[in-house]
């Protein structure tokens, strides 16, 4: 370091710990609430230390559901969220990979037009075309289906751009060498390009999985059946306007379960996550 400080690194440590506490506090409270019984919380007597109802609450949340509002157990919601996140992440990567491949490794009429058509979708997030998109999905009979949940979100300008950029850096000699070895477009893609893109795909997958898992507005519109709900929608329906009826321990257990998968992905695959985040935002 540049100079010697009197109190060493005390101040930075203090500030960083405060930051960590600010960030962790709401989640700690949620966990603590999920281990206490409803009556205590409803009375406003919640303790700041974990209670003894952990197993009871989580069993009820996962397999039974709340008594009044959603009826559907959170287990089903977790399954729906998982399917949706996987379909969105894998789907986006797959269709972006092949379209970037076509745009970089082929010459064909309207190549750049198609590239720009994909690129401009960056400026059309789902929020600005809510109801017309809803109408199309309804007309196609895709409401309350996994296809309806995922298809309208599956195009990805960022992923296409990223793969295009990456393919451009792949040396031409590789293509020429595989050509000499008699490889066609499929073989080159499968045997050479895909293995090279592995890290990019993994980093992108981490980001897109979180993105898919955390979708809210779109599932809110197109799922009406309780058994098609994702966990983000389920949790909203558990909060009843009059406080007395909300089963807070179950709500908080659902909140904990809802953030567990994406947070685990971030913490366990931190390197890929940071790489993916920085690359998709460039």
């Amino acid at each position: 370091m540049v100079e010697h400080r009197k109190f060493g690194n005390l101040l930075p440590h203090l500030i960083l710990w405060t930051g960590v506490l600010i960030v962790a506090f709401p989640v700690y409270i949620a966990f603590v609430a999920s281990t206490q019984d409803n009556a205590t919380i409803a009375n406003g007597q919640m303790s700041l230390l974990p209670g003894g109802h952990f197993l009871e609450t989580y069993y009820k949340t996962l397999f039974v559901g709340t008594s009044g509002t959603t009826r559907e157990p959170v287990g089903t919601m977790l399954f729906n969220s998982f399917v949706m996140a996987m379909l969105i992440a894998v789907g986006k990567i797959a269709i972006s990979l092949i379209s970037a491949y076509a745009i970089v490794y082929f010459r064909f009429p309207f190549r750049m037009t198609i590239f720009w058509l994909i690129f401009i979708t960056l400026m059309l997030p789902v929020e600005v075309r809510i109801y017309p998109t809803y109408k199309i999905v309804a007309d196609l009979n895709l409401l309350d289906s996994y296809a309806g949940l995922t298809l309208p979100l599956i195009a990805s300008a960022t992923a296409t751009l990223l793969f295009r950029q990456f393919f451009m850096t792949v040396p031409d000699e590789l293509l020429e060498a595989s050509r000499i070895d008699g490889a066609g477009p499929f073989r080159f893609f499968w045997d050479t390009l895909l293995p090279l893109s592995r890290t990019n795909m993994a980093a992108l997958f981490v980001i897109l999985f979180i993105l898919g898992w955390n979708q809210y507005l779109w599932p809110l519109l197109i799922t009406t059946r309780d058994d098609m709900q994702t966990i983000q929608i389920g949790i909203r329906k558990m909060i009843v306007t009059s406080d007395a009826l909300t089963e807070w321990p179950v709500v908080m257990a659902t909140a904990v379960l809802a953030m567990l998968p994406p947070v685990a992905v971030v913490v366990l695959m931190q390197k890929l996550f940071v790489r993916g985040l920085v690359e998709t935002e460039k």
Partner: protein, 293 residues
């Protein structure tokens, strides 16, 4: 930039772009076009006939004091969320950007809220600040604050801003840290030799060199405040009380739910599209060119 050697095939490339192109045309361009067309039409009360009315929907919208205050509110929210979250994240990043023991540990503990979904963020905060049973609400009452976001619009807005800023800290922290680590230490050391104290070094060297990151993050935070706060608002206040927390996106959603005026809802969508296009263009024009001194 183009590849020198390519494959030659007449149909294969079209086949490869087909899936993405189909999704883009059916679910992006078609609805967007519908919104634009719809915004020039006026439907009668029974939905039996529509007439072409030019910009009447836009005129109605922009002369509506309700819509105007929603625009102002959305901007105020964006500024408040961006400012609070950026400044805290910058402070944390500056602290983490030094050879500290356990700095990777701090990073892990600070970045995970990125993965928490906005509606879940809303639920966490609405619980802590629930006037009758929330932990923080109790503390506030003991301090003598008359806390009731269910009735007080300003308090409800504060609630949204707090929750939204909390979630965004991790993202901003990560990019600030990356930006700080890209600054060569020789520059800072040189300034130290010239006698500049830490504060002075921060404002005259580090901060200016960080400006590309700051600009980039301002744009990202505004986009976030405009669009991603939907889930937070919907679980915390549903736009209430008395529309005190209704943003532009939330208004499109809730107006549409009531099944009201199609033309007006479409015009709102088109205005939002304009905002996104402006923000994206701004980002590419200024941020990509790397603002630097």
């Amino acid at each position: 930039m183009q590849k020198q050697s390519v494959f030659h095939s007449k149909f294969l490339p079209y086949l490869l772009v087909l899936p993405q192109l189909a999704v883009v045309l059916v679910f992006f361009y078609w609805p967007a076009a519908q919104a634009v067309i719809q915004s020039f039409l006026l439907q009668d009360a029974f939905g039996l006939s529509t007439t072409f009315v030019w910009f009447e929907n836009y005129q109605d919208l922009l002369s509506d004091p309700d819509y105007f205050s929603t625009i102002v509110r959305t901007f105020l929210f964006s500024v408040a969320i961006a400012l609070s979250s950026l400044s805290l994240a910058l402070l944390l990043a500056v602290m983490a950007d030094r050879p500290l023991r356990g700095s990777t540990f701090y990073r892990t503990l600070l970045i995970w809220p990125y993965a928490v979904a906005p509606p879940v963020v809303g639920v966490l905060w609405v619980f802590m600040l629930n006037p009758s049973l929330g932990v923080i609400a109790h503390g506030l009452r003991n301090l003598g604050v008359d806390w009731n976001p269910l009735l007080d619009g300003n308090q409800a807005a504060t609630l949204i801003i707090l929750a939204a800023a909390w979630k965004q800290i991790s993202y901003n922290f990560l990019f600030f840290l990356a930006g700080l680590q890209a600054i060569p230490s020789s520059v800072i050391e040189a300034a130290a030799i010239d006698g500049a104290r830490p504060m002075r070094r921060f404002w005259t060297i580090i901060f200016p060199l960080l400006s590309p990151t700051i600009f980039f993050l301002i744009v990202v935070n505004i986009v976030y405040a405009f669009f991603d706060t939907f889930g937070i608002i919907d679980t915390m206040t549903r736009g209430g009380p008395a529309k005190a927390t209704e943003t532009l996106v939330y208004k499109v959603y809730s107006d549409g739910l009531l099944g009201g005026n199609l033309g007006s809802s479409a015009a709102q969508s088109v205005i939002l599209m304009g905002i996104v296009i402006a923000l994206t263009a701004f980002q590419f024009r200024f941020v990509e060119r790397k603002v630097n001194y």
